[in-house]
Symmetry: D2
């Protein structure tokens, strides 16, 4: 099937992005990512320990994955730009997920600083995926700033609360030409499927997989759910009706 | 994996039940059922044309499927019993889905008549799957009456409105030992996944598949979604939180 | 305004029914009921202590209220009938709310036994208000059995979970000619308003008022919310739109 | 009761703000606003026809109301500032609702331009109420910029879709010290009550009232619903439970 997601110049066959945070130990990361069939994996640059290879999370990410270092820890555009450059210099490639967060409680992004960082990094050749609060005008500005995708949050990071911003995300899907990757908040496969059925181009799931009792099984479940949602979107879901409509003929079978 | 659903004495590997109603033509039924990986397929006995084999819907159901004839058209327990016996005599096997419906608008079942029919047919050796409005006391009575499973509706038949009776279905899942198969109303794969994540044992989907633009793709989507929901249920979904919880460490990366 | 609810032969001006259970003490009941403007008040017959007037809950119900004794504690139709007769003999009038419950965890009603009790008591001249799981066929049978209203649950008693059975209650409102009084589960004024906006004829609220920190203020809030919902229903709520529609003209103010 | 909302230096007794757009004719505006008990009324400055008094909407706003002219039509901060100054010069007072919108389909605000306009106008002595997409970081910047309140949208203007941004608005209520006035999207009194129960300080409702069949009755309904929601918030709504909890004692009444 030729239904591929294009970000930067890359054609991606899989629409489930994953992360490396919050796992009980790093040893289970490779099998989990494989079970998810994920080809884009985010990790916080600050967690990358370049001095001690056995502790370096990058060594646990399968080779065929595109690294998506994120700027977690940045509180301003300037800090995000510095982290992005460190990541590229360290050999993590030119993809970058921008996270600019100064709110310690809900970890909500600063859209304005994120636009600034996107503009700078896109000009310097990065493939920029900004993490934002869903906002149509912000998404348009990110488009102009050269973003490669827009990553609106479904709910606060790690909250597992699901797609609580559906109304606003749906507008981004309708109005923005860039790929929309729903990031943060998705706690269950059904919620990932729902985002895809709405027409999201991909989802990023980290906490819900990393904190499951069985991370490998949960990764597989999310892979299936994302594919299910995408297929349903392409196959054309049926109309919602107010009355019932018999699957089987209703009346007169014996009475006739 | 040994996670099998047992109904009657049968071990079922697949938890997506399908139907044969509402397809634009019968020729696409076999490929659709195969794409769904469904091993239990319902059909209205009245649609079975025994005289003209090429029009007989049974000929379009793959051989490895368990037939689940339904009593659609019955308005009383007595009529349902008669249809069940005709189905068995005609070689459709001893499984029967009881539908007793006298409401022409919403096609809602008559729980009381359904209990009566279940009791009679269970005594006569049928494997009885009654379709009911979700109601704990009714489900308990069906258990006593010898039902093999309970099939509560998620929303009116064919409405594609989703799992609107979640609150009541959840109670059945918690309190009833019989398999709970959510039947009717499920319009999207995400809704099927949600039912399975809650702990439903299976779902029956007909309209949402049969009326999709691409029935084969939609069948595959539902198959994946049901498996995703089941795996997530077994893997243990994470806790829902009110505040955010960083996937990546938040503060002090550059500032330290 | 002549918008009155007729139950039995009584014209009721207020559509908020209240109860007497779960209050921290009986002394606050009169002021609370007055704040609610409630004219129909339910109480469990078993809690009525006829020997000790100062502990008799009836003495705390304002004189202008219609007493609605309930058969709480009954596990069968027969027990409900006995309790109803005791209530009438004791001077509580001829209204009776039928509760037949044998499930100790969710306190869900037994619809079938409830229909039986309704039929018997209606014939004996009672004004019968049966409490049921929402089910169209059951409501039709209650209509035939002579019920004066139907009281479907919104969620399990005392759960404060809201109108979780909306989909099924809406069908009752559309199809049943008797007054529909949503009973159980309503935890907030907004939920009471929502039930009324849908076209419910009244709501019964007990736990949400009795367990509020300030029962009088909460009673007043529910009174207002019920009136608000009713007025909105009569005033015709606007259409829901998918796109925006400017309240104020959008473009060209300064630019023209 | 001393529960007053303070905006600017004004103490407001009523928490329902209304508007003047979309009414079928201006003659019904005064009675509608009176029925709403609203003391803050917004109108688009551009609709104010200063030359023809009988068409001037201001003449239809009761004298005891605070005028809240809005900058509808502005597409930039600069344009909003100009409109605000015209409004003040024309005698509309020093309150201003900032709307900066360049999206013609969903009419979603431009948060960044709104912050700019807020900063400029607050310095010039205006009482500034900015209309924004709900976003914690934006609300914090508005606080710093000198806003008198924050007006997050519940759904696109005029959509009547309800409080679809609940998750994000709740965070503003928790984290921002300024009054939070939910503006846009509220289509029914129950939704206004829900916003108030969550702790919003006020709501602005225009379309849902102006397009009702009976605007006066709908205004009264919203007034009651807002008061109900506020009272419930102050009275302390009860806890939500997963199991049932009997309002009346359950067992053993007759059996003992």
């Amino acid at each position: 099937m030729s239904d591929k997601l294009i970000i930067g110049e890359e054609k991606l066959e899989n629409r489930l992005f994953t992360g490396t945070g919050k796992f009980p130990n790093q040893e289970i990361i490779p099998d989990t990512i494989k079970a998810a069939n994920s080809k884009v994996v985010t990790m916080a640059l600050r967690r990358v320990n370049f001095d001690t290879p056995e502790e370096n999370v990058i060594n646990y990410i399968p080779d065929n994955c595109r690294l998506l270092p994120n700027t977690s820890g940045a509180r301003t555009a300037e800090e995000a730009v510095r982290i992005a450059k460190i990541a590229r210099a360290a050999g993590c490639g030119n993809w970058i997920k921008i996270e600019v967060i100064s709110d310690n409680k809900y970890l909500l992004p600063d859209n304005q600083e994120t636009i600034k960082a996107t503009e700078i990094l896109a000009k310097e050749g990065f493939v920029v995926l900004p993490y934002v609060s869903p906002d149509l005008m912000v998404a348009k500005k990110l488009e102009e700033a050269g973003a490669a995708a827009v990553m609106p949050l479904g709910a606060p990071i790690g909250s597992n609360r699901g797609l609580k911003t559906k109304e606003l995300v749906r507008i981004l899907i309708d109005e923005i030409k860039l790929p929309i990757v729903v990031d943060a908040g998705i706690g269950k496969p059904s919620q990932a499927a729902e985002a895809m059925e709405m027409g999201a181009d991909a989802v990023l799931v980290n906490t819900a997989i990393a904190t499951a009792e069985d991370t490998v099984a949960m990764a597989r479940a999310f892979d299936r759910a994302v594919k299910a949602g995408r297929e349903a979107y392409l196959a054309g879901t049926g109309k919602v009706k107010n009355k019932a409509s018999a699957s089987s003929p209703l009346t007169g079978f014996l009475g006739e």
